[in-house]
């Protein structure tokens, strides 16, 4: 499967269609579930009815392999993008100042290892590496001739990566091993994001949905200003502790696959 096909398939999944197959129904259920969670389900330890639970479990096992492979290929795509981006950055003479090369070499090494890891996990099901255009097509970004632009995109990719993995945790909840691997990658992306943000003079954490990226990338931070966690609006509760700004910093927010793909596709030719 090439990336564009994957993108189509994944985007369609978020559409609520009444004529979907059973597989589609499950995906809609999942997508609905994710939205419902973000829209604040009241905090409760009580299980839903056992009937609903059984239904969820049986649907989950019915789509087990496919769903997980989709998630892994989605992750692989982001890792391909990052590896390619940092490889070109490191290979471009005069782009990255000497003092910053250790940081970007480290990030490149990690992304390259992540690519190998997800390729290995997928085996024959792994998608091919897409063709990237880091100028963003019509955006004509001077990505590899302007260090500030390179840094800004790096921040955007890392923060998007954090949100992307977070958004898929629920989809991998049926497989402890995959879930844990995804979490182990997720927090490394967050380490990267914090570092690059600080190199750009931003805080390592995200305040509200504020950012200094070009406005074309507003989607990278959309929803980060959320203050409702587990059904509780924390916005007014911490006046002595940084207020609502600190509340938004203290919790990173997920993005859906479709939201991430919309961002990534700016840089994907085919």
């Amino acid at each position: 499967m090439n990336f564009i096909k994957l993108l189509d398939a994944l985007s369609n999944k978020d559409l609520l269609s009444k004529e979907g197959s059973r597989r589609d129904s499950f995906d809609q259920f999942k997508s609905f579930g994710a939205k419902a969670v973000m829209a604040s389900i009241p905090f409760s330890l009580a299980a839903t009815s056992s009937k609903a639970k059984a239904a969820t479990n049986s649907m989950a096992s019915a789509t087990y392999m496919g769903a997980n492979n989709d998630v892994l290929n989605f992750a692989l795509t982001l890792e391909y993008l990052e590896r390619n981006f940092y490889q070109i950055g490191m290979d471009t003479d005069g782009l990255i100042p000497q003092a910053d090369r250790a940081v970007f070499q480290t990030i490149l090494n990690h992304e390259a290892t992540h690519v190998d890891f997800f390729k290995g996990a997928l085996g024959n099901a792994a998608i091919d590496e897409p063709t990237f255009d880091f100028s963003g097509g019509d955006l004509n970004l001077p990505t590899f001739t302007s260090y500030p632009t390179f840094l800004a995109l790096s921040q955007g990719f890392e923060d998007t990566g954090v949100r992307a993995f977070k958004g898929q945790a629920g989809a991998l909840a049926n497989d402890n091993t995959l879930l844990t691997f995804a979490l182990q990658v997720h927090s490394v992306e967050a380490r990267h994001a914090s570092q690059v943000r600080r190199m750009r003079g931003e805080k390592g954490w995200i305040t509200q949905a504020e950012n200094t990226l070009p406005s074309d990338f507003a989607a990278v931070y959309a929803g980060e200003a959320n203050t409702v966690q587990g059904g509780v609006n924390l916005a007014g509760m911490f006046g002595q502790f940084g207020g609502a700004d600190a509340v938004t910093e203290a919790f990173d927010e997920p993005l859906t696959m479709a939201e991430v793909n919309a961002i990534a596709s700016i840089f994907i030719v085919s």
Binding site: G33, A36, V37, I41, F43, S44, L45, A46, A47, T48, A52, K53, T56, N57, A102, V103, T106, I107, H110, T113, H114, D116, F117, V162, F165, K166, A169, G170, A173, N176, T180, F181, L183, Q184, V185, S187, V188, A190, R191, H192, A193, S194, Q195, R198, K203, G204, W205, Q229, G230, V232, L234, F238, F241, G242, A246, E249, A250, F251, D252, P254
Partner: protein, 259 residues
């Protein structure tokens, strides 16, 4: 001794040996669990119950609990530890005289950890008012809050520990219902912030180096180069927490899920 008797005897011995092995295993398992799970000032648990299905409870000692509640209390304990540490940092002389940027970072971390702590307190109290971990007492007298190296070095350990703890706890959450799914997502929302903290503290200690995501803390998977954070079981994390000596109030973790 006739043959029948011999066989009978042999069987009896074998049976006894098996019983012994099984009892030794049980005891080992228990010692391992209790040794790692009891957090606090030198509290010892005496084992008088070999029945695995019935977990011995210490009178007057809080147990984190089972299932998702146990994991939430576990996270709450770690957030209490972090929040109290940064409370001490902000009351200390290093912070008072630190460069503005470091001051801001440490104050942000203080705010975030207090918010995490109070969030867990509110959330757990809402669903299990009688089973919420009490406010723990801590002793940070071993940390010199006038020393940059001590403050940042301790912060590094606590943040890295937080990352590995949440990464390890994710799979222990039962996400088969909406509430469980919410907890898993919340763990994800918090762990990346802990990782952002760890990265920043590490870079303050060794600016511009690879330490923000260094090989001293990351691990490889399946023989790969280091590129993954650790995911540690609560027993391992709590054992490390015991070793810090920071936790005064004893509590146990005898019922936490292990898979």
């Amino acid at each position: 001794m006739n043959t029948l008797k011999k066989i009978d005897m042999k069987n009896k011995v074998l049976k006894e040996q098996n019983q012994n092995v099984s009892e030794i295993n049980k005891r080992r398992q228990f010692l391992k669990l209790s040794g790692m799970a009891v957090v606090g000032s030198g509290l010892l648990i005496a084992c008088s119950n070999d029945d695995d299905s019935s977990v011995p409870q210490q009178p007057g000692v809080f147990d984190l609990g089972a299932g998702n509640l146990g994991i939430l209390n576990y996270a709450f304990a770690l957030e209490q530890l972090e929040a109290e540490f940064y409370t001490q940092v902000l009351a200390g002389s290093y912070w008072a005289g630190a460069p503005a940027k470091e001051k801001q970072i440490l104050e942000d971390l203080y705010n975030h950890e207090v918010i995490h702590r109070e969030f867990f307190k509110t959330a757990i109290t809402a669903v299990a008012p009688n089973d919420v971990l009490p406010t723990l007492e801590f002793d940070f007298s071993s940390v010199d809050f006038g020393s940059r190296a001590a403050v940042l070095g301790t912060a590094k350990v606590l943040e890295d520990t937080g990352v590995s703890a949440y990464n390890g706890a994710g799979q222990l959450l039962d996400a088969s219902d909406a509430a469980g799914m919410t907890y898993l997502l919340l763990a994800g929302k918090i762990v990346s912030v802990e990782a952002r903290h760890a990265s920043a503290i590490r870079d303050l200690l060794n600016p511009g180096s690879m330490d923000f995501a260094g090989n001293d803390i990351l691990i490889g998977i399946g023989g790969s180069a280091p590129a993954f954070d650790k995911a540690l079981a609560p027993s391992v994390v709590l054992s490390a927490v015991i070793d810090t000596g920071f936790v005064v109030t004893p509590f146990t973790a005898n019922q936490l899920p292990t898979s």
